[in-house]
Symmetry: C2
Subunit: 246 residues, 2 copies
């Protein structure tokens, strides 16, 4: 697989002063954060997009992002964007990937760090003023501005994988939810259908759902029980995973 390169470039050791000089003056690049914010509404997985304000991308949608301040922690910058754009804090936020092609941004060299966020869409009722913001059905996201299509695709794939290994999905639901809602969520994210009985069996056997002794209201059929997810119990379990599966 690996081959030996023709030339072995000699390594020159740099002094702190030289590095400081480079850090201060030479190799400085604009850094941004872009957030892929997922929500769940009407049994559809949604993503929050904003109309690009650049002429070049007129009318096209883009992710929510901003430049990182020189003194700002990278994770904190992502939280800031979420606060500014959605008014929410304490949300699920995970760094996914850094995109650094030289020509990816028309304003010059900008390297961007992509984050994936999951929010309860009920907590974010868009005001009518914010008509530049819109929740898009994920199956209908295409032709985004910049390289945001690639960023979105990467984050969506990551979400599909992570949700099968970790209990992230509850961040998209109300605190109390029915098993039907939970299954609808999984089916929407994974774009698949699951057997209802096996799905229930699976979750009950994990023993991580707390029965709230409440039931759904205002449904035109037999109401389902409402559950909470037992985050504490989950946190205390450390699973050592040693299968081989590819």
């Amino acid at each position: 697989m690996a081959t030996i390169a023709e030339t072995k470039v000699p390594v020159n050791v740099k002094s702190l002063k030289a590095i400081q000089s480079e850090v201060k003056n030479i190799n400085r690049i604009a850094l941004s954060v872009d957030c892929v914010i997922f929500g769940f509404d009407e049994n559809k997985l949604k993503v929050l997009l904003i109309r690009s304000d650049l002429k070049k991308f007129m009318g096209r949608w883009s992710l929510l992002g901003d430049l990182i301040d020189v003194a700002e922690d990278v994770d904190e910058a992502a939280y800031r964007i979420l606060r500014e754009r959605t008014g929410l804090k304490d949300v699920y936020l995970e760094q996914v990937h850094t995109f650094g092609k030289p020509q990816r941004h028309p304003a010059g060299r900008v390297v961007t760090i992509a984050y994936c966020s999951l929010i309860n869409i009920q907590h974010h009722k868009l005001s009518k003023m914010e008509n530049e913001l819109h929740w898009h059905d994920v199956n209908n996201v295409k032709d985004l501005a910049f390289d945001h299509q690639q960023i979105f695709d990467t984050c969506y794939l990551r979400l599909q994988k992570r949700i099968q290994e970790h209990p992230l999905g509850f961040n998209l639901l109300p605190k109390k939810f029915s098993l039907r809602e939970l299954q609808n969520l999984y089916e929407a994210i994974l774009d698949t259908k699951m057997d209802r009985r096996n799905f229930r069996k699976k979750f009950f056997s994990m023993d991580l759902l707390i029965d709230t002794d409440e039931i759904e209201r205002d449904v035109p059929h037999r109401p389902g029980k409402l559950y909470k997810f037992n985050f504490d119990k989950y946190e205390k379990r450390k699973k050592k995973w040693t299968g081989i599966d590819f």
Copy 2:
């Protein structure tokens, strides 16, 4: 989980000119790449480290890294470092995570993008001149310079996870290997013991190993058969994964 922030900061739309100005003049940050380079030798998982040249970290070990040039693609910068430091090209390289705490580097604000690389250690015989470089046993890596301990830990955990889901391990072995070597590799990376018969059964049932009709040489016992991994066949399989497991 999510709570509504007290203030909803209004969003000001920026013109391209304003963004260009910021990109050119204001929010520019030094960016670096750090590589966690794994090798496998004498049945131990190893990582390539270099003695830090900064007085502040005198005597401590650090990862191999360098600043990214203003016009340089980020992935390309990581490949460059590998070429410069190991003389190898066409190696396995995967971006893992970006670390961006404001005070992580003593020379000023430097955000670093961590990569994980797997190389065949046989292809990288260290010359005696390079006494600042050393292959460390992964179980013996501690007290690294900068925040490199955290970066190393993150990459090692990622490797442990990825190797169970994808056939990465072969990058650490010679093209032709015995099943014993393969099992030793998995046991070293996952820090576990496996049943030899079940391990073989597992790999044979995947039907991704090619019998080379060669056997080990110069071993003081019955020689084992040598196999190659069938990368082409693996690539053609797309596995849709829809379990729930946490």
